[in-house]
């Protein structure tokens, strides 16, 4: 990305700017303008709620793709439960119902002093407040032997949905009978905590029907993951998975845990058993791990990640690759009047999930309305729910409420109660979890985009 910062405005005449947008910002004293870079969950929700809270605001979303492809629920494409087209979300409702300006273009310049961004198409856009919700960038190259080119042609990631998701679905269908599907789970922190475990579970379920002698291996650079115990209980019931000892702790005696003499269709290799990936040998379809080589017919890698590219180009990231901010208003500590939300920002106890981005967007929208009216931003409150499936009829979740410790600039989880599906959940509760998961995909999309 060639971002010419600071100076690009000098190349543009004031007339050109005025032509792009009537300047009725705070500078002119009339209509404040909030510009949002990124039309994903965070950006779209911010735009919608800003206009709901204050219809006098001018709100512009700048997004490079004309249609949003939702990542949440996209693993269902891999097993053919839904088609790629069903992931598409339109920006029409944001425009027509909420009066949001949606510009399909890319940001190529940023002048924080003049509060302007420049677009590839040549326009300059001035803002009173800028929201950046860029999602993630996948660091394919962090794994030796892996690259974006390989991900697009041979060993898909599909963690940002698109052509790689479709490729993975094709590969699964074409997998030989008795073949191996290998999922390489990511290191922390990453988008969608239960996701790298839900996907192989859905693949295992699909294989039981279509390729019953095949197997699924999850290799992991971690020893635990969010929803691990409830997910493993589901695997135990559905895929003859033997629950490792540490995860049996706390399961009530009333809950039956099955013991298997043979390994089941799904296997999980944590870091302590050598699960950490070392390198990929694409030609031989082999992943070298700390515990040895794993040869597979289909390999799905979720690489390490950091804040979306634009955040770095705009100078909004720290040395860890994420965006430091004031947790109350999500204002960047590196550039004033720029607020970063969603996967890209530091949010402490809040996971990198669509639900998090959605509630961050709402507290941000309220904060911006208040700040632009020269009132204090209210004390924010956030929630997260990650629904996940261990099988099509087996729903589970992690749910949390979060609060701000303003003095420490830190987001904490409220309380110490159980965050997960109860280990002694009834079969009906588990099936209801799956009903809610499916319904949530729709209700959530509507809350963000319609």
């Amino acid at each position: 990305m060639n971002l010419s910062r600071r100076n690009f405005l000098g190349l543009l005449g004031a007339t050109a700017l005025a032509g792009a947008f009537p300047l009725r910002s705070a500078f002119a004293g009339a209509q404040a303008h909030v510009v949002i870079i990124g039309g994903g969950v965070g950006g779209a929700t911010t735009a919608k709620y800003l206009r709901m809270f204050d219809p006098n605001l001018k709100v512009t979303v700048i997004e490079k793709n004309p249609v949003y492809i939702r990542p949440y629920g996209s693993s269902e494409v891999v097993t053919g439960h839904i088609s790629m087209d069903e992931l598409n979300v339109s920006y029409e409702a944001l425009k027509s119902r909420y009066g949001v300006n949606v510009i399909i273009d890319e940001v190529t310049g940023f002048d924080p002093d003049k509060r302007s961004v420049k677009l590839k198409g040549g326009r300059g856009v001035r803002y009173d407040k800028l929201v950046v919700s860029p999602g993630i960038e996948l660091l394919y190259d962090k794994l030796a032997g892996y690259s974006q080119a390989i991900a697009e042609s041979k060993v898909p990631s599909g963690w940002i949905p698109g052509a790689q998701t479709a490729l993975l679905a094709e590969q699964l269908k074409a997998m030989p009978q008795g073949g191996t599907f290998l999922m390489v789970a990511p290191p922390n922190p990453y988008r969608c905590p239960p996701g790298p475990y839900e996907r192989p579970a859905l693949v295992a379920e699909w294989l039981q029907k279509h390729n019953p002698t095949a197997k699924v291996i999850i290799t992991d650079p971690k020893d635990k993951f969010v929803t691990d115990q409830t997910m493993m209980l589901g695997w135990n019931r559905l895929y003859d998975f033997t629950i490792p000892k540490p995860f049996l702790e706390g399961i009530p005696a009333s809950v039956e845990v099955k013991q298997y003499s043979q390994p089941g269709i799904l296997e999980w290799i944590p870091a302590k058993d050598g699960g950490t990936p070392v390198s990929l040998d694409v030609a031989n379809k082999t992943l070298k791990t700390e515990g040895g080589d794993i040869k597979a017919d289909v390999i799905n890698i979720v690489p390490a990640m950091r804040a979306g590219k634009i955040a770095k180009a705009m100078g909004l990231t720290d040395d860890k690759g994420w965006c430091p901010n004031n947790r109350k208003t999500f204002e960047s500590t590196l550039h004033p009047h720029v607020h970063v939300i969603g996967d890209a920002c530091h949010a402490d106890a809040m996971p990198k999930s669509g639900f998090s981005a959605n509630t961050q967007a709402k507290s941000l929208a309220r904060a911006l309305v208040e700040l632009l009216a020269e009132r204090d931003a209210p004390v924010p409150v956030w929630e997260n729910t990650c629904y996940a499936l261990a099988g099509s009829d087996y729903g589970l979740y992690v749910a949390d409420v979060f609060e701000l410790d303003e003095a420490a600039n830190k987001i904490n989880r409220v309380g110490k109660f159980n965050r997960y599906l109860r280990l002694d959940a009834t079969p009906a509760q588990i099936r209801m979890g799956a009903v809610y998961q499916q319904a949530w995909l729709k209700s959530f999309t509507e809350d963000c985009f319609a």
Partner: protein, 160 residues
């Protein structure tokens, strides 16, 4: 219809939403709920169908209020107590609690007392749920009351 009662304990907020319900009715419903058996024998599709029916039935009891969808429900003023909290429900229950779909109960227009009683029961494990117990556990009673008061004044307007 006979299966419906077996489902009461599992429905997150399906008991809610009847704008005509008075305090006594609420307590009767709560009583019934606590004693109902669990519908373990039902398939996922049957469960979904039952919830859909229940929600439709509840909605039919509510007089719809005519409001344009683009109409801002929040005035251009400082946030009301409970409002920010209430917006965190929208990821499932729809923007301002006005969505009715196959699984989530709309929260808009719900009488305060029903909302509060149900949330407290979820929180105190007096009522079974999937995840509402977890969510309710993260909330103080004051927060629950403020949310109840916010949702009660949102016009019940349901998009099918």
């Amino acid at each position: 219809m006979k299966l419906q009662y077996t489902l009461w304990p599992l429905l997150l907020l399906a008991l809610l939403g009847n704008a005509q319900a008075d305090g006594k009715k609420v307590l009767e419903k709560v009583e019934k709920t606590a004693k109902a058996p669990v519908a373990d024998s039902l398939s996922k599709d049957e469960l979904r169908e039952m919830i859909r029916e229940l929600i439709q039935e509840e909605i039919a009891n509510v007089q719809p209020v005519n409001t344009a969808p683009a109409q801002p429900l929040t005035p251009v003023s400082a946030a009301k107590a409970g409002e920010l909290m209430a917006h965190t429900c929208a990821g499932c229950h729809g923007t301002n609690g006005t969505l009715a779909n196959e699984a989530f109960m709309p929260l808009a227009g719900m009488p305060e007392q029903e909302f509060v009683q149900t949330m407290l029961d979820f929180r105190d494990d007096q009522r079974q749920s999937t995840l509402m117990g977890t969510v309710a556990n993260g909330l103080s009673e004051t927060q629950i009351r403020e949310m109840a008061s916010y949702f009660a004044q949102v016009p019940m307007e349901v998009s099918p």
